[in-house]
Amino acid sequence: MIDKLYTYLQYPFVQRALIVGVLIALCSSLLGVTLVLKRFSFIGDGLSHVAFGAMCVATVVGVSNNMLIILPVTILSAIFLLRGGKHVKIKGDAAIAMISVASMAFGYLIMTVCSTSSNLTGDVCTTLFGSMTILTLRVRSVWICFILSILVITVFILFYNKIFAVTFDEDFAVSAGTNADRYNLLLAVVIAVIIVLAMNLCGSLLVSALIIFPALSAMRIFHSFKSVTIFSAVLSVICAFSGMIISILTGTPVGSTIVAVDTGAFLICYLIGLIVRRD
């Protein structure tokens, strides 16, 4: 077992995959609290479905790198959904439900009608749940993921205090002169980028889990924004890393393995939270 792992870790492409996987996990945990507690939660879910549709189109069109299609489409949808959901809550929700279901349907439809692939079911499954192994990530994608992850982390650190102010109490922030619309827009774009990144790791259906689980786990134990943010980032990295290692060793699909580990971590944090809460 150890030998097998050791052999694997010798390969540069395995190392690359692990690094990118860890970076993606780190990014996706950063906005977990915002997504869990702010009205952005529904946007997150809707966007992952939009991203599925875009991924199907990209597969059929056969662009050299499908991020080129998925990324802009998802970002534009994020901006659109944010604008739509802003004032009239119910209409916004309906719009999101429509868009996400429609993208799923059209995505699958386009795949079935146009795809020349001999393994259609396999392709769809990969889009939904992520690839069997992360080792199939192409070098170019690895680089794009790497750069985008660094970008997301930088933006998050630079706007950390503003994100807190705007998500905790938007009205107060606005009354004190913070341009909340601008930061909401920024958040929507960053969430879109994170979703597209996370899709590479675990497919569109499991994206939400990767984003939300670490934050939920951290909130069981910690109670300040800073400690929750730091702990969920650390936890997400640990879970993703061990998930990837397990996946390499046992041959299980990488996305579901990571999410399974995340779920286990949540249960542990839940129990710890119960015990600590007594004091």
Binding site: L37, N161, F168, D171, A176
Partner: protein, 236 residues
């Protein structure tokens, strides 16, 4: 020029008028109490003054060098996001956000200001505590400290004592009064007409009958007499 002046202000949502043609002004150092029944539009008025929503008509003028973002705000209790992981310290410090502009981090002067306001509100020992695990009265002090980080000029308080026990209530009123004595102009929404009459200098009554004037004028006015009477009946 008064600090704040409303001219023929019409308040409401989506062209549905709630308060029609409101006129009042607030001078520096005033303590204005806004009273009226539930749903009469008090919170709507505050949100309009803060620029969180637009008036349907009329205007709000700022004078005496007051800028729009120099108004501190204490929201009504239920408007704060529940279960948000946030410590007392983080929340108070976030009151400085408006000063930061594009600067990403808080300066040491801002951190000192936050600490000073926490001390003033008597919540320094709670600074690492979770906001959702402290008492209602302590929460209000935290939000007051945050508002003080944003401004030293005007505070808008939306029902600052709702849900507090009698002791917390009187402590809160004393705290607000001490701020007023330091020169902070106060606009407070209150259900508690007795407190309004004890502490305030001016009363704005909104509802079917609108009144604006000093406390003494209010006691003699029709709106005032009627409101006081109905409150008395409620109490019995």
């Amino acid at each position: 020029m008064p600090l704040l002046q409303a001219e023929d202000l019409i308040l409401g949502y989506n062209s549905h008028v709630i308060v029609d043609r409101l006129n009042f002004k607030v001078e520096k150092g005033d303590y204005l109490c806004i009273v009226g029944n539930n749903g009469s539009g008090k919170t709507t008025l505050m949100r309009t003054i803060l620029g969180l929503q637009d008036p349907l008509g009329g205007k709000i003028l700022f004078g005496d060098g007051l800028k729009k973002n120099e108004i501190g705000y204490l929201p009504q209790q239920n408007e704060i996001q529940k279960d948000f992981p946030a410590s007392v310290e983080e929340i108070v410090l976030s009151g400085c956000q408006g000063r930061c502009g594009l600067r990403p981090f808080y300066s040491s002067a801002e951190k000192a200001l936050a600490r000073e306001n926490m001390t003033k509100m008597g919540i320094e020992h709670l600074s690492k505590k979770s906001f959702f695990r402290i008492s209602g009265g302590q929460k209000q002090r935290v939000l007051l400290a945050r508002a003080l980080c944003a401004t030293r000029k005007v505070l808008l308080l939306d029902e600052p004592v709702s849900g507090l026990d009698p002791q917390g209530t009187s402590e809160m009123y004393e705290l607000i009064d001490s701020l007023r004595k330091e020169g902070v102009t106060i606009l407070m929404i209150s259900h508690d007409i007795d407190a309004a009459l004890t502490y305030s200098s001016h009363i704005l009554h909104i509802g079917a009958e609108v009144f604006f004037g000093t406390k003494d004028e209010y006691l003699k006015s029709r709106a005032g007499k009627k409101f006081l009477l109905s409150k008395d009946e409620e109490d019995q």
